[in-house]
Structure formats: C-alpha cells, structure tokens
C-alpha cells in the first residue's frame, strides 16, 4: 500500500489541497518539490499531457489534477472521509468542489494581471464569494462545508482562506471587504485553526515575498 509520492511546488494551493488530504487521512508520503521553470524528467513522465503539478504517484502510477487526486485518495484511503456517504449529499458536495475549483481561478486573475483583465478577475471573484455566502449549504450553521469535520469542499476552497489575503496585500486590490461575507469569514477562521491545516499552511511572510517577486515578473512581462 505504501510508496506515495507527491510532486508539488511551494506555495501552490493546488499542491496544498493534496497535502491536506494526505495529512487528514494520516497517509505517509514523500514530497518532491518541483521547479516549474526547469521541469524534471519525473514530472514530464508523470504528467505528459499537462506537465503541471500536483501529481500523486502511488505504487509508481501517476495521477494528475488536484480534484481527481483528492477523489483517488478518498477512494483508496476511506478513513476520515472527505465526502458524505449519502449519494445526493455527495453530489451536492461534488458540485461545490467543481464550483470552487473553477471559480477560484478568478482570484489568480487578480494576481496575474492588471488593468481590465484584473478588473474582470475581481468582478468574477466577488460573484463567486457572493454565491458561496448566499447558497453554500451548511455555511454559518456548521463549522466547515463538510459539517463538523473538514471535507473536500473545504479543501477546494482553501485558496480563499489563506491565499486570497496574500494576493490582496501584494496587489493592493481588496477582494473581500471585511464584514460583507460574515459566514465565509467565520469559515475561513475555522479552516485555518483546524490543527492539521494550521500545521500545513505556507508561512505568510514567505508567501508574500514569493508572490511579490512573481507579480513583478508578471507585470514586467507585459
């Protein structure tokens, strides 16, 4: 059963989704940091289609795409489940995972671009936050989207809990006005205080430094 490797890059939130899942389920693994400007033969071999991280390699077999990796981990190691067992509740969770996965990319647009593209990203990010605040089931009533325990929806939205604030600081663009999204804010606090998550978050000051450098490169490349 052993031999689990994770190819990731720091401080990618997509890498962290997988790290959190492995840690929450108590699965030992070897983490191999990747240099995306100089991709390793292992990465190119393991994800020839997209050449991206994260990639989970289990028993020599690679799986790519963070949400697909999470579903694999869930099925292979059923302890501390990340999805509900009831089929309809599971479907609702999968919807929110997909929604979070697709829409949270808008936050990256705020980071990656400036001007019109950045404004578009900001507008989309706000729409996403509004929809989650208003419609996400359990939010405000339970500690996490997954209920009393962290689930896959929480992991998919991890970017909002920790990375969004750093992006706001580095770009000077406010995405989430304080007080406007009370239920989401409460969730963000619960998520970051969970003992497993807390121990597995990139250090804010290191992340700010790395993001600042990256943003300078993005803006310069225009």
């Amino acid at each position: 059963m052993g031999d689990v490797k994770l190819l990731g890059t720091w401080p990618s939130p997509f890498s962290y989704r997988v790290i959190w899942a492995l840690k929450l389920k108590g699965i030992p693994y070897e983490y191999i940091e990747q240099d995306l400007l100089n991709k390793s033969p292992l990465l190119l071999q393991s994800n020839p289609v997209h050449k991206k991280i994260p990639v989970l390699i289990h028993g020599g077999k690679p799986i790519a795409e963070s949400i697909i990796i999470l579903q694999y981990i869930e099925e292979k190691w059923p302890q501390n489940p990340l999805l509900p067992s009831d089929p309809h509740e599971k479907a609702v969770a999968r919807f929110w995972v997909k929604f979070a996965d697709e829409k949270s990319l808008s936050i990256w647009k705020v980071f990656r671009f400036s001007g019109e593209e950045q404004e578009k990203g900001l507008k989309e990010s706000l729409e996403m936050l509004e929809i989650i605040e208003e419609h996400a089931p359990g939010l405000g009533q339970k500690k996490f989207f997954g209920g009393d325990k962290i689930g896959m929806v929480d992991l998919a939205l991890g970017l909002v809990a920790h990375w969004m604030g750093a992006i706001e600081e580095v770009t000077g663009v406010q995405i989430m006005e304080a007080g406007k999204f009370p239920r989401l804010e409460a969730w963000m606090k619960n998520f970051k205080e969970d003992p497993v998550i807390k121990e597995n978050l990139p250090e804010l000051k290191d992340m700010l430094a790395a993001l600042k450098r990256r943003r300078e490169i993005h803006l310069a490349s225009k």
Partner: protein
Amino acid sequence: MEQVTVLGSWPSPYAYRVLWALELKGVEYEYVEEDLLNKSDMLLKYNPILKKIPVLIHAGKPIVESPVIIEYIEETWPQNPLLPQDPYEKAMARFWTKFCDDKGLAFTLFFIGVGEEQQKAAKEVREALKTIEEKALGEKKFLGGDEIGMADLAWGVLATSLGVIEQIVGMTIFDAESFPRLHRWAQNFREHPVISKNLPELEKLLVNYTRKREMYLDTKIA
C-alpha cells in the same frame, strides 16, 4: 423506483451525456425540453445558482453539472458500470473526461470564432484529438475498454456534432487519415445498440448549428 426527470436542451452535448448514461443503464426517466431563452420556473427552481441544463431530478432532489450527474447516476444505478472498479483506472477515466471539458472553449471558438482566433482553436482541438487517440484510446475499442464508459460519453461529441460543425465552418480537423483509430472509435460509438437509438439527427443539427453560428456572428458585428 422514484421519479427521474432530466431537464435538457436539444442538442446540448452535456444533456446527451446524461441521457446516454441513463439509457445505457436502462433507467426510466422523463425528459423535459428547456427553452434557454425563456427559462422555465422548474429550471430556475432546481438550478438557481447556475440556471443551466442538464439537471437531473431524482425523487424531487436536483443534481446539476454533467460530470457530477454522471457520478451520481453511476453510484445510484450501478448496473452496466460507466467507471472501472479500480481506483486508479477510475482516476484515469475522470482525467480524460475533464480533458474533454477543458477543451470546451476551444471547440466553441472553432465553431463560432473567425480568423486567427478560429485557427488557433482548430489547432488546439486537433492536438487534443491526437492526445486522445494516442494516450487515452490506444488499441482499445472504447475509452472505457470493451464497453462504453464515462470518458466515451464526454468525447461523444466527436461522433455526433463535430462533423456538422466542420461542414458549417468549412474546415476539416477530424480527418480519418490523421485519426484512424479515433474514427473507428466514433463508428463503434455510433453503432452501439443503445447509442444508435439516441443520436441527434444530422439534418436537424445542421439547421440548428447553422442558425447558432449566424446568431453569434451577428452579435459580434452588432
């Protein structure tokens, strides 16, 4: 058995995936055609967030987003499985399904784009077809192996609407010479006893898509 209803809009490929899944499993359902320019109360009630089709309603509870719907159908009606049992093979089926969904924009731009934008999209679609033929299909009859699986349902567009779109835009990208195995796959897909009874009529598709392309081009010029 509890009532199963599908809200769809002809000839949506996403709706077809859901219908094929139900037909392959012999699940009885009621189909409701939606007018997307005049959305019904039912659609707005069951998909208030995205207001899109397809929607599956089972015992009064809605499930939205075709990949989420397919997973739900697979778990609720396990006969004639659309996913392999092995978690790794399951991950691969999900990977190739997502790969198709990720190419949605490229397919759309090939269809309604003009000039350089369309050329770029055509190139991207061709590269995707190459990847599917070489890496996903290989020597198998279907992407799912000997039987149709989830990934086949997603790529079913190649067997149904792509030919019509090529005709309308006057550009062939899915030619038999470049993609012999994929062409054979498309034929096997179309001739499958269940799929063959649930294919969109090509003449109707031609009329529908011609009108759609004209509409898009008009709004661009306007």
